[in-house]
Each structure stands twice: as structure tokens, then as C-alpha cells.
């Protein structure tokens, strides 16, 4: 029977990120304020009690500050003995008097420090942990752990096997929600546990050689529609985040959404060979006595108690297994292979739209398919490139840890643009008698299946009615063959009101690259078409040029800044490849194929991602 695996993590954060600002309003900053320290530890005790009374074990992630606190150390040891909790070490919670005096900075995000400081801080924190507990931790984490940091930790402390390593889709959206003041840019990673590659944390390892040696878990399990569309901090397995999103009944203090979210994660076992995972990690600042925004303390507490009680109920019903992080790392490596993808056919559980998104993640790509847009690919990250992307002071990306996209409908438009130019999307247009209908206009639903090592998404057929009278029914099937770095898309013309008529199909991908809403310099890109020995190239110069080639075997684009090569190949009647350059007002590229379709015929394309050297 499928069971949800749960990691509950608590950290005794002596100076919670939020509590200092909130409880301290009107007071000058004082990290050693006794009331703050006492309250923080009390919250940790309450969180531990909530888990234990529901029969759930936790991973206690000691913070640097808590290692200076005898009571926090003693509690961790006691709970390890009594409840089997793991004593781990987080790189969150660095701020405290001792840290400030030693490092002379207010930086607190480990991935943003210089490499020299990262190493010094890790050695300091791990050393302090050893001093207090007589051994090194097996688990660690932060909001983000860059590859260089993980490699350093694993090299020097090989017993570390698990780490919290990213917050899913916490990037420009979270930054905006915080009035452009919260610099956690880490979009583009996996939403569920993975084995990071040595080169780029977000990109899963494809084999033992690429294996960083740890199992990474995401910070919270997040709503794969709501967090993609909106602020990531409102829609996760963090009860107070749900309150932050105001997703509760103010009169009854009930929040069925939280339970729906957990249950939908349980449901993901259907797409992942029986495996499903949840992580809950609430920092103590979210349960401070002053309340949090509109939510009084009593509601904050109730929501955490209810969250733990629901997990406890699932455990009692045999539907959930609680593990520590280190236990989970062992389990994950036992049940998952390197190239086995993570799949999620996610349903809207909040807005009442019945919309579905399909998320796919493996060592070669992360892709999102939107059924409200006829199965268009609306987000695409080329992990095949295993892009070197060091972050922190002294690197080209001090704060920006996001994995670059080729397609991102929210940041670089999608199907809809404001009457000029194009947005990034991978879709198809059906054309007849001078009319053109994009499948993005056709809402549908998907069905998941697995055939051998291929994951398939079969969409319900959609009807297209041309104004000239022709009506056709088209079906889309997307296939993700494991380990091949390819997405195969088959379109079939199932029915036509006039079988003698042919329609033109235009399979296209509009792409670009970047990590934010703002365009990057496209000048180094090169587009190309190939048929046999004929190769035609088009260096990107913003001149709105196009090339086409009958019978082309490939239409491609090389993007040196993200070391990526993306290409399309096709099979079908009258196929012709084409590439489009874009222009200053529409800084995109397009690769595509045209062909013809009659009733019962199909047209198939293969989108391939590779590292460009």
C-alpha cells in the first residue's frame, strides 16, 4: 500500500527571522534580548510537543545560536533518546550575538556568502556541533544550498547524507510579495526530493559520477498550481503559510485547504511507483505570541496543532510513515533510481477552476504542461546542460540561484501577449483556409500512464471549429521516455467534418533564456536548420529574420550563456523546419515545423535538450 513519507523538522532558532522584527517593533535591535531567547525556545518546545503527542518523530535542526544554549542542547539530546528524533544542523538561524561579533556582517543566507566565508562558517558551525554532541550531523540544510557548498560539506563531513536544499519557485514572485526586500531567488528546482548533481544543485544527478552524495529535500511541499502562479509562501505544508494566504474561515478557524494539499501529495504516489513525500518545517517566528499579521497567537498555535494532528491521524490509519531526514535519505536511495523522474498531475484545489498542470522532473529537464492551454509546455528548465552557476559574493550571481528557463509563461509571457510580439510557450497551431487556431485556446484534461520506462500524458481530444465551416477533433499525447532528454508530442487528427480537406499544422516553440522577468542579451544565440548535409544558420541579431527548409531533420537553437542546445525533429506529411530570430520588442527565438494533416493522420515532434559545449 502506498504511504506518504513525512519529514517534520523543527529548529530552535534563538533569534527567529520574523520574531525580531515583529515582536521588537519600536525597540532598537538587540539579538541577545532575554525575552526573545526565552520565547524562541518555548516555541520550539511547543512544536516538539505537537509532533510527539501525535506519535510523530522529528528532525531537530540545531541552529548556530542554539549551540550556545545549554537548554536547547539538552532538550535535543533528551528528545533524541526519548522519541528517536534526529539531531541535525541547519545553516539557517545564523544571526546571534556570537555570529555577528565573529563575522562582522548581517548576512544570514549561507549561499550568499563568499566561498571563503561559506567554508569558514560551515567549519565553525559543524565544529561547534561536534563540541556539543560528540559527533557530526547526518543532515543539514538552508533555504538553498549551492553545489559548491554541498560539495565542500560532503568532502569534509562525508557522514552528511541529507539536506534541505531549495524552496520551490521562491524567486521573483516571493521577492515582489515582500515589497522587493526578500532576496531568495531560487526558482526552477525540483518540488520533491532529489539527488543534486555536483555541478548544479537544482539539476538532479543522472548517474553516480554526477551524484553530490546527498539526498536533497525541498523546504516545504508546495501547491504546484498556486505556488507556480502566485506567492510561494502562501500555499505549502506550513500551516501558518496557509494563514498568511488567508485561506481559512475566519469564523470557524478551519482550513480544509491544508488537508487537501497534504492529500494531493499522498495522491502523487499514483504517478511515482507508489512513492509520495511531504515535508513540514515551520520556523519559530511563525508562532510568536504577538500573532502574525491578522492571525492571533491562538490561531497560529491551533493551525500547527491541527497540522500535526492530521499527519498523526494518517499515521494511525497506516497511510503515513514518519522518518527523520537521515532515515529518509536511505529510503530514497533504496527506492529511486537516478533517471527515474518525479511526476505530478496536479489539480487545482483552491480556485475552483478544475485546471490541471503536469510537472515532470528528471536529470535532464523540468517541464510543466498546462492542460488549460491544450497541453502546451509553459515552463521548461534544461537540466541537461548541468549549468555551472556558482552563487554568493564574489561570483556573477550573488543572490540569483535560480536555474534558467527556456520557457516561462509568467515571466516572459506565454500564449497571450499585448498585441505585439510573442511569449514563450511550446504549442501548435492548426491552420485551414487562412484561419489559424492555437491549441493554447483549447482547454482539456489529461490522463497519466506509464508504459515501460515512458511516462505518458494522454489529453482528451479537443474540437476546433474554423469559421469557414470545417470542424476537426485533435488529440495530443505527450511522452517522456526516461533518460532520453526528450519530450515526444503526437498530434492526431481523429475526426474531420470534411475528410477530403487537409489542415496545416505548425508545431512551434518560442523560447528565450533567463531567471527573471527581464530580457537577457540574445546576441550570442545561433539558430539552425539541418537536412542531410545542408545546414543553414542564423546568428541572432534582432533582425526579425526567418529561415525554412523542406524536409528538415532538425530545427535548433544554441544558447551559449546557459550552455544549452534545444532542438526539434518531426515526422509527418510535408514536414518543413523553420527558425525565427525575433526582434528588439520581441526578444525571443522560435524553432518549429509545419506539415499537413488529414483525418486519421498524425504529426509527431521530438523536443531534445542537450548541453552545448
Amino acid at each position: 500500500m502506498d504511504k506518504l513519507i513525512l519529514n517534520i523538522i523543527h529548529r530552535p532558532e534563538m533569534v527567529p527571522e520574523y520574531a525580531e522584527k515583529v515582536t521588537g517593533h519600536g525597540k532598537a535591535e538587540d539579538l541577545g534580548r532575554k525575552t526573545l531567547l526565552t520565547e524562541s525556545l518555548d516555541i520550539f518546545k511547543i512544536q516538539q510537543e505537537c509532533a510527539h503527542k501525535n506519535g510523530l518523530k522529528t528532525t531537530i535542526q540545531m541552529t548556530y545560536a542554539s549551540l550556545f544554549n545549554d537548554e536547547a542542547v539538552s532538550l535535543a539530546k533528551e528528545h533524541h533518546e526519548k522519541y528517536g528524533d534526529e539531531i541535525a544542523l541547519t545553516l539557517l538561524g545564523l544571526p546571534c550575538e556570537q555570529f555577528r561579533q565573529k563575522y562582522k556582517t548581517k548576512d544570514f543566507c549561507i549561499w550568499m556568502f563568499s566561498m571563503e566565508d561559506k567554508m569558514a562558517i560551515v567549519d565553525d558551525v559543524f565544529g561547534k556541533f561536534y563540541e556539543r554532541f560528540g559527533s557530526y550531523p547526518e543532515s543539514t540544510g538552508s533555504y538553498y544550498m549551492d553545489a559548491e557548498l554541498i560539495n565542500y560539506i560532503k568532502g569534509k563531513y562525508p557522514m552528511v547524507k541529507c539536506a534541505v536544499a531549495t524552496c520551490w519557485e521562491e524567486g521573483p514572485k516571493a521577492y515582489h510579495t515582500c515589497n522587493n526586500s526578500w532576496y531568495t531567488f531560487m526558482d526552477g528546482g525540483p518540488w520533491a526530493p532529489w539527488i543534486p548533481s555536483k555541478v548544479n544543485t537544482h539539476a538532479p544527478a543522472a548517474n553516480e559520477e554526477e551524484d553530490s552524495g546527498i539526498v536533497a529535500i525541498p523546504h516545504l511541499s508546495r501547491d504546484l498550481i498556486a505556488c507556480y502562479d502566485g506567492n510561494g509562501s502562501n500555499f505549502g505544508t506550513h500551516p501558518q503559510n496557509v494563514l498568511r494566504g488567508m485561506i481559512y474561515d475566519t469564523s470557524t478557524w478551519e482550513y480544509p485547504y491544508l488537508y487537501n494539499l497534504i492529500d494531493q501529495y499522498r495522491h502523487l504516489a499514483r504517478y511515482n511507483n507508489g512513492y509520495a513525500y511531504n515535508m513540514m518545517f515551520v520556523g519559530p517566528g511563525w508562532m510568536n505570541k504577538m500573532g502574525r499579521w491578522e492571525a492571533p497567537y491562538e490561531l497560529l498555535l491551533k493551525s500547527y496543532e491541527d497540522g500535526c494532528a492530521y499527519y498523526g491521524k494518517l499515521k494511525k490509519e497506516g497511510k503515513l510513515v514518519d522518518m527523520t531526514m537521515a532515515e529518509f535519505a536511505g529510503h530514497y536511495r533504496a527506492v529511486k533510481g537516478y533517471t527515474e523522474p518525479e511526476c505530478a498531475l496536479w489539480r487545482d484545489i483552491l480556485y475552483g477552476s478544475e485546471k490541471q498542470l503536469f510537472w515532470y522532473c528528471d536529470p535532464f529537464m523540468r517541464a510543466c504542461v498546462n492542460m488549460d492551454q491544450g497541453g502546451a509546455i509553459v515552463d521548461l528548465r534544461p537540466y541537461a546542460a548541468k549549468l555551472e552557476w556558482p552563487v554568493g559574493i564574489g561570483t556573477p550571481h550573488i543572490q540569483d540561484a535560480s536555474y534558467p528557463f527556456l520557457i516561462q509563461e509568467k515571466y516572459r509571457a506565454g500564449y497571450f501577449t499585448h498585441y505585439a510580439g510573442e511569449g514563450t510557450v511550446r504549442s501548435a497551431k492548426l491552420c485551414w483556409n487562412g484561419e489559424e487556431v492555437d491549441l493554447c485556446q483549447c482547454r482539456t484534461k489529461a490522463h497519466f500512464s506509464q508504459e515501460g520506462k515512458t511516462r505518458k500524458l494522454t489529453l482528451d481530444p479537443v474540437e476546433i471549429a474554423f469559421a469557414g465551416g470545417l470542424r476537426i477533433k485533435v488529440q495530443t499525447v505527450l511522452s517522456f521516455p526516461e533518460g532520453e532528454s526528450v519530450i515526444r508530442i503526437e498530434r492526431k487528427l481523429l475526426e474531420s467534418s470534411d475528410p477530403a480537406e487537409k489542415v496545416t499544422i505548425n508545431e512551434y516553440m518560442v523560447g528565450c533564456y533567463g531567471t527573471t522577468e527581464y530580457t537577457e542579451d540574445m546576441s550570442s544565440l545561433t539558430l539552425s536548420l539541418r537536412a542531410g548535409d545542408t545546414v543553414e544558420t542564423l546568428p541572432y541579431e534582432y533582425r526579425c529574420r526567418e529561415l525554412s527548409l523542406a524536409g528538415a531533420e532538425e530545427a535548433a537553437c544554441v544558447l551559449p550563456p546557459i550552455r544549452t542546445r534545444v532542438s526539434l525533429a518531426a515526422e509527418g506529411a510535408d514536414k518543413a523546419g523553420y527558425v525565427k530570430e525575433g526582434y528588439a520588442f520581441s526578444p525571443m527565438f522560435t524553432i518549429g515545423y509545419t506539415g499537413t494533416l488529414s483525418e486519421k493522420e498524425g504529426f509527431t515532434t521530438w523536443l531534445r535538450l542537450e548541453r552545448a559545449n
Binding site: M246, H267, H447
Partner: protein, 73 residues
């Protein structure tokens, strides 16, 4: 007039919340109203609570419980 402070709870601006911005409001004790320092919203506590309720308009399934075991794929 003395400086503004926070109210008994730390209300966010409902107008900004609806455009996905979490902005703490300040309380003007002389006028008895909260105000946003980023936009032009002002309101009493009662008005803020009403506006917060309005912000939930998009959560049509907020109170619905789903049964995933009954779903077909």
C-alpha cells in the same frame, strides 16, 4: 501628532494583498485608521476585515474537502 505605530494585530494592506504584496499597515491613532505606506489604502479595523474577506473571492474551493482516493486518472 505623534508617529504612527502598529495596531493590536499586524494588519496587511488588503489592496496590496490582492496584488500579492504583503505590506504591513501602520495605525494612525488620531484618525483611528490603518493606512498603507505603499499605496493609498486607508481603513478602520472593521473595513480592513471586510476587505480581507473580499480578498478571498478567488478561493472558491477554500472550504471544500477533496477526496483524492475517489479520483480517476
Amino acid at each position: 501628532m505623534a508617529q504612527a505605530g502598529k495596531g493590536k494585530l499586524n494588519y496587511r494592506c488588503p489592496s496590496c494583498f490582492m496584488r500579492e504584496l504583503d505590506i504591513d499597515m501602520f495605525f494612525d491613532a488620531d484618525k483611528g485608521e490603518y493606512y498603507c505606506i505603499r499605496c493609498e489604502y486607508t481603513g478602520t479595523e472593521e473595513e480592513v476585515l471586510k476587505a480581507n474577506q473580499l480578498a478571498r473571492f478567488r478561493y472558491r474551493d477554500m472550504l471544500k474537502r477533496f477526496d483524492f482516493d475517489a479520483l480517476e486518472d
